[in-house]
């Protein structure tokens, strides 16, 4: 087998901690730089259509990163995240929409909400705080369950949130679109938030708590025997993940100006879940790869879906192709790379492995 050369120098405990932190920071920096560079380049040179596509992709990326924080580290499949995205979006809508608009949109809102209007920033903060609180309450129940039972609870969270949104028409406008939300967020802010989410997720994964949580994901009993409080760590990850996903929902509402409950249901849940799985849910880099891959692929498929002409032959419209292809892509990735594209590795690890393979590992260190 290949032996791995490791710096063997004796290090004091303090230095070891710093090395771990530095490693995490370096990994986070890679992710931040790539996300920022790609986003800014598209903003500078892309057509308005491409910029809009980028903005929605980045919001999806925040969702997938939020998903990674819990799902990737605790190894529990989560489908409820789209519900938290909805909460983030609707809370911000309720607080940020001008009173004049509310007279049209939700004139009979309870708690006198139709007369309340705070700035977009405050609405954003309130929304994320409320979503996080709901994350905390649901998390207290969730961490008591394991495996499939936990996943089923996340599904019921999604269904409950959707049910409340659709039936409580006075506050959420039911199945009708909620419009008139101030468009206070542009692509630049979305890029900034994405970078922040990536850094948070990467630092958490590499933190002491993150390592303990990942240990408990593979063997809870052994982790407990090593003193790990599995429930507490899972709760931390769940709440942090909910906050990040709620943040994505709030940003989306402030970017699009109009939201619709149906946009935060199973379709979105499965699309972002697919992105997470395709990229590799144990890796933050994987979140980025998964979002990029599926966004580009689905966009290409959408072109085909509309009917194209190749060498003079006109292909008919192929509606529903994107759903089919999504399934095919997931199945293919699962067959050839069951751990997703990144297989749990982060970008700096992948780079190091590539360097080694091409024999340039020696002049490092």
């Amino acid at each position: 087998m290949n032996t791995i050369s490791v710096a063997e120098g004796r290090r004091s405990p303090g230095l070891v901690l710093d090395a771990r932190l530095a490693g995490n920071a370096r990994g986070a920096l890679y992710l931040a730089v790539i996300a920022a560079a790609v986003g800014l380049l598209i903003m500078a040179f892309g057509s308005p259509f491409i910029v809009r596509l980028m903005a929605t992709a980045y919001i999806n990326l925040i969702v997938v990163v939020g998903l990674q924080i819990f799902m990737g580290n605790a190894n529990v499949v989560n489908i409820g995240h789209a519900g938290f995205m909805a909460l983030g979006a609707y809370f911000v809508a309720i607080f940020a929409t001008p009173v004049m608009m509310k007279a049209v949109v939700i004139p009979n809102a309870p708690f006198g909400m139709s007369g309340v209007e705070v700035g977009a920033l405050w609405a954003f903060l309130i929304s994320v705080a409320m979503t996080t609180l709901i994350g905390l309450i649901s998390g207290l129940v969730l961490v008591r369950l394991a495996g499939i039972a936990a996943t089923i609870l996340t599904i019921s969270i999604l269904v409950i949130v959707q049910g409340v949104l659709v039936t409580w028409t006075d506050l959420f406008r039911g199945a009708q679109a909620f419009f008139g939300i101030p468009k206070a967020v542009g692509p630049g802010l979305i890029i900034l938030a994405t970078v922040a989410a990536l850094v948070i997720a990467r630092m958490f994964k590499g933190s002491r708590a993150g390592v303990q949580l990942r240990a408990s994901a593979t063997d809870p009993l052994a982790a407990e025997a090593m003193g790990v409080d599995v429930k507490r760590l899972r709760l931390v990850a769940w709440v942090l993940g909910s906050a990040v996903v709620g943040c994505a929902g709030a940003l989306y509402a402030l970017y699009a100006g109009t939201i619709n409950a149906r946009a935060f249901y199973f379709h979105t849940a499965f699309l972002t879940l697919a992105m997470s799985i395709v990229g590799g849910m144990r890796s933050v880099t994987g979140a980025m790869v998964g979002v990029a891959l599926l966004t580009v692929l689905l966009e290409l498929i959408r072109i085909v879906e509309g009917g194209i002409t190749v060498f003079g032959i006109e292909f008919p419209d192929m509606l529903g192709l994107s759903g089919l292809m999504l399934g095919v892509i997931i199945v293919t990735v699962m067959c050839f790379r069951p751990d997703g594209f990144m297989g749990g590795h982060e970008i700096e690890e992948a780079i190091a492995a590539l360097r080694k393979r091409f024999g340039r590992g020696k002049d490092e260190s």
Binding site: V6, V211, Q212, E224, A225, M226, G227, V230
Partner: protein, 271 residues
Amino acid sequence: MTAMALEADLGVDEGAPKGPLPAAPARCLDIVDLSKRFGGVYAVRGVTLRCGAGEILGLIGPNGAGKSTLINLITGTLRPDTGAVTMDGRSLVGLTVPQCARAGVGRTFQNIRLFAHLTVRQNVEVAHTTASRHRVGGPELHSIDDLLSRMGLAALAERMATTLPYGLQRRLEIARALALAPSYLLLDEPAAGMNDTESEQLVDLIQKIRDDFGCGVLVIEHDLRFIRRVCERVAVLHMGEILTIGGPEDVLNDPRVIDVYIGGGDEEEPT
């Protein structure tokens, strides 16, 4: 036996205050009249065992004698029906598994249970984090690098734990348990599946661990040659009860012990 039980009784009060009692001898593990039934059958019955400070104590017995169950009772994995377990003067009965670990019970598993997807270093770090945050009054906590190099794993620190050869995985499990700065280390068949050279090295390693880390060691092992070489005292468990305790030579030559081993499950013994 009775004298031992009486002595042990002193520290066994259920409502014993948390934290070490001044009178209690450090790093002792006292087991008094411990019983556990599964259905109607006793897996452990009235076991009283005082594991002394810094002692290497062997625990042998045929398959199904209750050895692993005893470890599970000490670590909080199972709750005893009756009896008491005290370590460093503190009662462990009723504590959860993580609480026992934080109190200084380190263990390995009969079937290796390393953390997959984590490196060798991270496996040790999991326990090290616990010790550095929650452990009070234990032996000195070594750094992760120090632990790895003492266990001969330093060069493999960045390897994925589950890609190590079997013998090294067993070793890593011990290193991980040591990162808790345990008062007592419970090893469930540490030499199982090792070749002669590896188990030879393990004998030296266990003695070195006791000297360097200042913890007591309780070793369960079927390999009687291994037990003879590494232990200062040996306890024999048979059908959940302690048959005898004493020096290795006395115990292993005891006709009752030979009888038990020939009578039950000897066919699986490597010796």
